[in-house]
């Protein structure tokens, strides 16, 4: 669990259209459109560069952004949502 890696879609696997606080995303593999709000687009962008574990992702987000009082549990919940929607795979 501690070491599982989260994978985003392969290169070219997503179409991304930021709208406002929401971002529309088309997942080519499934043909499903999702509406995302932060931090989901940011998570996907980082995972697009390579698979990461939960802790590595948390660290990377902390480098790029000020996470304020965001918790590891909250990030885990966001990843669970992304996995459930099919946008992220956990291996």
């Amino acid at each position: 669990m501690h070491d599982s890696l989260y994978h985003g879609p392969p290169e070219g696997g997503l179409l991304v259209a930021p709208l406002d606080e929401f971002t529309a995303v088309y997942h080519r593999a499934s043909g499903i459109t999702h509406l995302l709000t932060e931090p989901a687009p940011q998570i996907l962008a980082i995972l697009g560069e390579g698979a990461l574990s939960l802790d590595a992702l948390l660290d990377r987000l902390g480098l790029d952004y000020d996470l304020a009082d965001g918790t590891r549990e909250a990030l885990a919940a966001r990843l669970a949502e992304l996995v459930e929607s099919g946008l992220v795979e956990r291996a």
């Binding site: 179409l15 929401f22 509406l35």
Partner: protein, 286 residues
């Protein structure tokens, strides 16, 4: 199918076959100024049929069929045969259209730009389009607006305008010389009467327009205008499109492109005159 009729509406050609003469006679009359399908080849077939041979005569009941069918469609009595034909054409478009992204919206055009109006039944899409057309806008359609994924342009689909209940009188008042179909009282959707679009709308049906404003009207409220955020507008339009999912990637690009290019506005209005005034004011500010 002993009776048939062919017609082209915008870029879409239909062939309607019927077990009865009456609905075809109505279609021939009301669509008499419309062109035939391009090269004589229709895009969709519609069938109005009797489930059993004797139902052609005994309590005649019109079943709706065609290229695309839904098993749960309920039949209509023959006196509402014209409504059955129009619903059947809608069904073919809703389920089968792939060339254009279908938006459940009315559309009118001015100076090459299109105003789209979308919303739930009763919000006023048809009525507003009819009223605006009476004030010099070119009528493009009251049920579906066709968005071309390749160009982002809106193509007209000027079917017979389907007016319900109170809207019938309002439209007749705005267009006293318009040709009307039969009044069909007490259909599953209330009293219905069809109005033939004006000559200008028919003549210009092949001229697309660049979308410029997306309006979400709401009838029966004090006048108010609110911006609709792009995210909300996008989601509402995915629900207002019958073939968004079927078009896949092209649908996504077309719809996000539309939302990115066009402001979305909610317009609450108490009556037609107020709606017209608000819409004209918004258009002037573009």
């Amino acid at each position: 199918m002993r009776h048939s009729f062919e017609v082209r509406i915008g870029p879409v050609g239909f062939r309607i076959g019927s077990d009865w003469r009456a609905p075809i006679a109505h279609l021939e009359t009301l669509y008499r100024d419309y062109p035939k399908p391009l090269d004589g080849v229709p895009d969709f077939t519609v069938r109005l049929f009797a489930r059993r041979p004797w139902r052609r005569f005994l309590r005649p009941s019109v079943e709706i069929g065609g290229d695309y069918m839904l098993p749960e469609a309920a039949p209509l009595p023959l006196r509402q045969g014209l409504l059955a034909a129009e619903m059947a054409m809608n069904l073919q478009m809703a389920l089968g259209a792939r060339r254009y992204l279908l938006l459940h919206a009315s559309a009118v055009e001015r100076d090459g730009r299109a105003l789209l109006m979308t919303g739930i039944s009763g919000a006023g899409k048809s009525t507003l389009a009819t009223l605006l057309a009476a004030r010099g806008w070119r009528f493009m359609g009251d049920e579906f607006a066709l968005l071309d994924p390749a160009t982002g342009l809106i193509h007209a689909f000027p079917r017979l305008i389907s007016l319900k209940n109170d809207a019938i009188a309002a439209a007749e008042a705005a267009w006293p010389t318009a040709r009307m179909g039969p009044l069909m009282p007490a259909t599953p959707k209330g009293d219905i009467r069809h109005m033939v679009p004006d000559a200008r709308a028919i003549a210009a049906m092949d001229v697309p327009a660049r979308p410029a404003l997306l309006v979400f009207p709401r009838y029966g409220f004090a006048p108010e205008i609110r911006a609709v955020q792009p995210g909300e507008a996008f989601v509402r339009m995915t629900q207002a499109s019958t073939n968004y999912v079927a078009l896949g990637e092209a649908g996504f690009r077309a719809l996000t492109g539309l939302i990115a290019a066009v402001p979305s506005v909610a317009v609450d209005y108490p009556d037609g005159a107020s709606a017209i005034a608000q819409v004209e004011a918004l258009w002037a500010e573009l």
